[in-house]
Amino acid sequence: MDFATFLQQLVNGASLGSMYALIAIGYTMVYGVLRLINFAHGDIMMVGAFLTYMATAAGLPFSLAVLIGILGSVIVGVLTDKIAYKPLRNAPKISLLITAIGISFFLENLFNVIFGGVPKAFSAPDYLTKVLHLGEIYLPVTVIIIPVVTVLILGGVLWVLYRTKYGMAIRALAFDIPTVKLMGVDADRIISIVFALGSALAAVGGVFYAVSYPSIDPLMGVIVGLKAFAAAVLGGIGSVTGAVIGGFILGFTEIFVVALFPELGGYKDAFAFFFLILVLLFRPTGIMGEDLERSRF
C-alpha cells in the first residue's frame, strides 16, 4: 500500500469510525445509568435517517430536515424510556433487556410497514456530495466533515458531563439512583436527558450513514447498531471517551482489513467482532473501562 492509499484509507476509517462512535455514545450512556444494553438504540439511528429523508422529500432544506430527524429521534428515544423502560425500573435487568429487543423489532417493523423494505435513495445536498482531489487522494467532503463533527460532539458531551449541573447529576446517577433522589432530584428527568442526548447523537450518526452510503432501509440500524455496541464494549462500556475510541478502532479495522486483504472484503463484519473478542479476552472491561460497577463516563 503506498502512502496516498494509506492516507485515503485513514480518512475513510475515521469517517466510518465516527459513525460507530456517535451511536456507541448512546449505548454507553444508557448502560451507565440504567445498566441496560438498549438494543433499540441502533433503530433510533434508523428513525433519525428516515425522518430526515421524509423531511427532504417534502422539500424542506437539508439543515432543517436534519433538525427534524434529530428532534424526532429524541422524541422516540425519550418515549421509549417513558413507555417501555420506566415501568421496569425495579424489575430484573433481563426483563429490561428483552423489552429493548422488543422495541427494536417494533421500530423496524413499524417503519417496514410504513415505508416498505425497499432501500430508498438518500439525496444529500451538493455541498455534501462534492469530492476533493488532493493529488492521488479522493476526498468526499463528508469524509472530512464527519470526523470533525464527531470530535466536536464528543467535546460537547464531555463538557455537559463534567461542566454542567445536569451532567454532574448523570454521573451521580450512574453510581447511585436512590441517593440522587434524596438530593431532591427527579431521577427520571435526568434519565430522560440521557436518552435525549443519546438519541440525538444516534440521529446524527444515522444522517452521516445515509449521506455516505446514500441509501436507507428500515433494517439499516441492525448491523450498524451491533457494531456500535461492539465499539462501546471495546472502549469500555460506561465510558464516553472509550465509546469514541472503540468506534474509531472498529472503523479503522474494518477499512484496513478490506484495503490490505481485498479478497477478505466479504468478512469485514466478522473482523470487527473478532477484534472485539480479542480485546475482551485480554481486557474484559474494555479499553477505558474500569470497575463495571463504578462506571464514570
Binding site: 449541573k165 454532574m168 447529576a169 454521573r171 451521580a172 450512574a174 453510581f175 447511585d176 436512590p178 441517593t179 440522587v180 433522589k181 434524596l182 438530593m183 431532591g184 432530584v185 427527579d186 431521577a187 463504578r294 464514570r296
Partner: protein, 230 residues
C-alpha cells in the same frame, strides 16, 4: 414538624414496620432506637417514600404521604442515608453541589458554611469522595444533606463503623444543628443518641414499645438492660 400515623412497611408478606406513630416538635432532636432489624431504616425510607408504605405522614402541616422522594426533599425534609452513600465518583465539592441541586442561588454561601462547620472537608474540596475516610464521608453526607437548607434532617446510623473520637465529633455537630433545624436521629448507639436527644422512641419488632423524654429513657431499667448494656 413531623407527624407519622399508623405507618406500615411490608416487603412482600414480611412486615418490617407493623405500626408506628410518632410526633416530632420543631427544633428538637428526637431519636429512634432499637436493635438491628427492628425496622429503623425502613421507617426513615418510608417517610421519604423510598420504599412502599401504608399510613400517613404529615410534614410541616402538609400531607406528604403520596409525594415522590425528590419532592419531599424539596419540601424541606432531608435524609442522610444509612452507610453514608456519598457519590464516590464525584469530588467533595461536587457532592455538595448535588446537595444544592435545587438551591443554586445559595450554593456558594452554604458551601462556605459547610467547610466552616466541617473543617476536615475544607482541605479536600477537589478530592474524590471515595478517597475520604469513613468519618469524613459521614460528615460529607451530613453537609450534603444540609445544602438544600432543610427544615428537618433525618440521620440513619451516623455513628456506624466510625472510630469513637469521630463519633463524638459527629454528635457534637448534630447538637450544634439543633439550634437551626429539627432532627430525627436513628441509632444503635442508644446511649450517645439519648444523651443529645430531647425525646426518644424505642422500636421493637416493627412497632414502638416505649416512648418518653430522653432523660427518662436513660433512667429506664428496661431500656438500660436491653440497649445500654446494663
Amino acid at each position: 414538624m413531623l407527624d407519622v400515623k399508623n405507618l406500615q412497611v411490608y416487603y412482600g408478606v414480611i412486615a418490617a414496620v407493623r405500626r408506628i406513630d410518632m410526633h416530632i416538635d420543631p427544633n428538637t432532636i428526637v431519636t429512634l432506637i432499637g436493635s438491628n432489624g427492628a425496622g429503623k431504616t425502613s421507617t426513615l425510607n418510608a417517610i421519604v417514600n423510598a420504599v412502599k408504605k401504608k399510613g400517613q405522614v404529615v410534614f410541616d402541616g402538609r400531607d406528604i404521604s403520596r409525594h415522590p422522594t425528590h419532592r419531599i426533599v424539596k419540601e424541606g425534609l432531608s435524609l442522610v442515608p444509612e452507610g453514608r452513600r456519598v457519590f464516590i465518583n464525584l469530588t467533595v465539592d461536587e457532592n455538595l453541589r448535588m446537595g444544592a441541586f435545587n438551591n443554586d442561588e445559595n450554593f456558594e454561601r452554604l458551601r462556605g458554611e459547610m467547610y466552616e462547620l466541617f473543617p476536615r472537608l475544607a482541605g479536600k474540596k477537589q478530592q474524590l469522595a471515595g478517597t475520604l475516610s469513613g468519618g469524613e464521608q459521614q460528615m460529607l453526607a451530613i453537609a450534603r444533606a444540609l445544602m438544600s437548607e432543610p427544615k428537618m434532617l433525618m440521620l440513619d446510623e451516623p455513628s456506624l463503623g466510625l472510630a469513637p473520637k469521630i463519633v463524638g465529633e459527629v454528635f457534637e455537630i448534630i447538637t450544634e444543628l439543633k439550634k437551626r433545624i429539627t432532627i430525627l436521629l436513628i441509632e444503635q448507639n442508644a446511649f450517645a443518641a439519648l444523651k443529645i436527644a430531647d425525646y426518644g422512641y424505642v422500636l421493637e419488632n416493627g412497632s414502638i414499645s416505649l416512648e418518653d423524654k430522653a432523660s427518662a429513657l436513660l433512667g429506664n431499667d428496661d431500656v438500660r438492660k436491653k440497649y445500654l448494656g446494663g
